[in-house]
């Protein structure tokens, strides 16, 4: 009986958010899964059980997977290019700043600013920068390449059949590398100076100090960065719409979900995509949560 006095008030305090999360997050996830398993395939609402019908339909959908110009291939290419590009640039920038430059604060802000710009606005600018038009109609990067005498670098950008989505990742890399830089910079600063000194005392070269002392300490940062970038990437919608519009050549699962629900009014199939996206993101996030809980318990 005295127990409740211990946990009661606390529970009372958090119960509103528990209820809200239960209803508006988990309740709606459940509802979405239910819709994906129903036969609600037209504008007329229906909640009859249809099993995995919508998922099977998706599997045989030529837009979905896995040949050229399909949603799944697009999102995989986009994600890989985006994560690798952002991590590399983020680490490099953080490393340079960490080595000590004048006006670090200034550079830090400059690199972070792109994150403050919405994907829609960035997309409009990058659409112009990545203009694939030939000859005198070209603008942006292709013109710059031409002026610099490296005209052979000029390319079709996001219209490229196989690697177009890697070009589509450029604006996202531009927008988020500053953020990843900030994460790594904090990580670098978190490595105690004594450790580096100890390594140097033992005769380690600067390369080995980083290789064996600093970078191993950054593993949690890399993991967080991967999770953050991974889930942004899988959900990408606004950037695609701003640059490519509703075209198959740049279509990703999130865009197709929108088309299926609002244009085709195929709610079950749209909900099936939403469910698959959630599962894909969970595969990324759940190991991270387990890892975090474990390391917190150990600490």
């Amino acid at each position: 009986m005295t127990n409740i006095r211990r946990w009661g008030p606390g529970l009372l305090l958090v119960s509103p958010s528990i209820v809200l999360v239960a209803v508006f997050v988990y309740g709606l996830i459940g509802w979405n899964v239910k819709v994906s398993l129903s036969d609600w395939r037209t504008a007329v609402p229906s909640s009859n059980w249809a099993g995995l019908g919508a998922y099977r339909d998706l599997k045989s959908d030529p837009a979905w997977c896995c040949g050229p110009a399909t949603n799944v291939r697009h999102i995989i290419i986009f994600t890989v290019a985006f994560i690798i590009g952002t991590l590399l640039i983020g680490v490099t920038l953080a490393f340079l700043l960490e080595k000590g430059v004048r006006g670090e604060g200034f550079f830090r802000s400059v690199y972070l600013f792109p994150m403050a710009i919405s994907f829609i606005a960035a997309g409009v600018v990058w659409r112009w920068l990545m203009n694939p038009a030939p000859g005198d109609r070209s603008t942006g990067l292709n013109v710059i390449f031409d002026k610099l005498g490296v005209g052979f670098l000029a390319n079709q950008w996001y219209l490229g059949v196989n690697w177009g989505m890697a070009a589509m990742a450029l604006p996202a890399i531009w927008a988020l590398s500053g953020y990843i830089m900030a994460l790594y910079l904090a990580g670098f600063r978190g490595v105690p100076e004594e450790l580096r000194e100890a390594a140097r005392m033992d005769g380690a070269s600067e390369y080995r100090v980083y290789r064996h002392v600093v970078f191993p300490h950054l593993r949690p940062v890399t993991l967080s960065a991967l999770i953050i970038l991974g889930h942004i990437s899988l959900k990408v919608f606004d950037l695609i719409v701003a640059i490519g519009g509703k075209q198959l050549i740049t279509q990703t699962p999130a865009v197709y979900m929108w088309i299926l629900i609002y244009d085709a009014r195929d709610y079950a199939k749209g909900a099936a995509i939403a469910t698959l996206l959630l599962i894909a993101i969970s595969i990324l996030i759940i190991p991270y949560l387990i890892y975090t809980v474990r390391s917190e318990r150990n600490a």
Binding site: L12, T42, A43, A133, Q156, I249, A264
Partner: protein, 430 residues
Amino acid sequence: MRRTTILRLALLGAAALVLVLPAASFGGRSKQASPQAACQLQVFSWWTGGGEAAGLAKLIKIWNANNKSCQFKNETVAGGAGTNAKAVLAQRLAAHKPPDSFQGHAGAELRDYIKAGQLEPIDFIYKQYHFDKVMPKSLVSQIKYGGHLYSVPVNIHRANVLWYNPKVLKDAGITKAPTTWNEFIADLNKAKDAGVIPLAMGEQWTAEHLWETVMIGVLGPAGWNALWHKGANWNTAKVTTALNRFKTLLGYTNTDAANLTWQDAGKLVADGKAAFNVMGDWQDGYFSGTKAGGNLALKPNKDYGWTAVPGTAGVYDWLSDSFTLPKGAPHRSAAVKWLAFLGSKKAQDTFNPVKGSIPARQDANPKLYGTYLKWALKQWKSDKLAGSFFHGVVCPNAWKTKIDTALGLFLQNKDVSSLQSTLNSAAQAG
């Protein structure tokens, strides 16, 4: 014991409060919108810019002058071809809060709303005001669903127009605009040799637009209209021919098509960088409209010319913006009056010259219309009608999405037989 009960009650109370609060606020909102307020005609459309918004403003002025007791409430949502508006509308209809009347492309695109029981049939308005006498018979029959009419078409656009730059044609040695397929290919080759883009094209939907005009050119209006029934046979030699022609045309288009809007593609023709472009007749508004309105202020028949897409002379590939009567419209009698007004000669002759389209009625006053529209008015009286695929006349939305995908893939792989089999299986699903 008592203390725990109190705590438990408090917990439950808090939880209940959390659950009830949002509901209470929703309730409050719906009360405010109760129909006891002064009558307001809520009209939902995606006419937010250019000639469409200006035309709507003129209609609103007339409406408000004649309906002092029920003023117009303009509920527009921005976004080309209504893509955003349709999403907003779907949410409103699902929440049982329909406007008094909403815009939709006349024809099969409205079928989703009809099947969901969200629209009232309005045959009685047609009967009372004799719209079926002044609009083409085939138009009225093509927008019927299950024997009933559900919308009043305000305007008619033509999709199968071939736009060209007369100066570019002359320089390339083309003496007159092509009318047959063979002439068209010969002219495209001449343009290519002259070093301009033979056929300007924009992003995916403009390719689909081109596709439908090529299909109609081969199949004719009857053959085309016959394709749009569940179970229709698309595995015919004629469809194969049409798809091959479409493939041939794609070979004459600009490589950066997917990066261009329809205006960008049209401007290539206007700027003399391309010879031809297939686009709906909203292009005329873009070409001839004022610079202040973001248009090009060109002279018709001098700076730009037009003709039917080769093979489609005598066919009007039409599309239409229309307005509906949603079930449960808050001010139904005003909405009925609005629809009757939209079908009137006065409203159609007020709206269309500004919007850059022609009236669905055949008794328009040609003096009010510009050079291109005068031509279109004449065609509208004599041409056979074929409903537009991309612009929602012949094809319900789910079917259209499948074709969007198939054509999107075709733009990448140019595989005619796989496209044809996908199109055929889409038709079997209906």
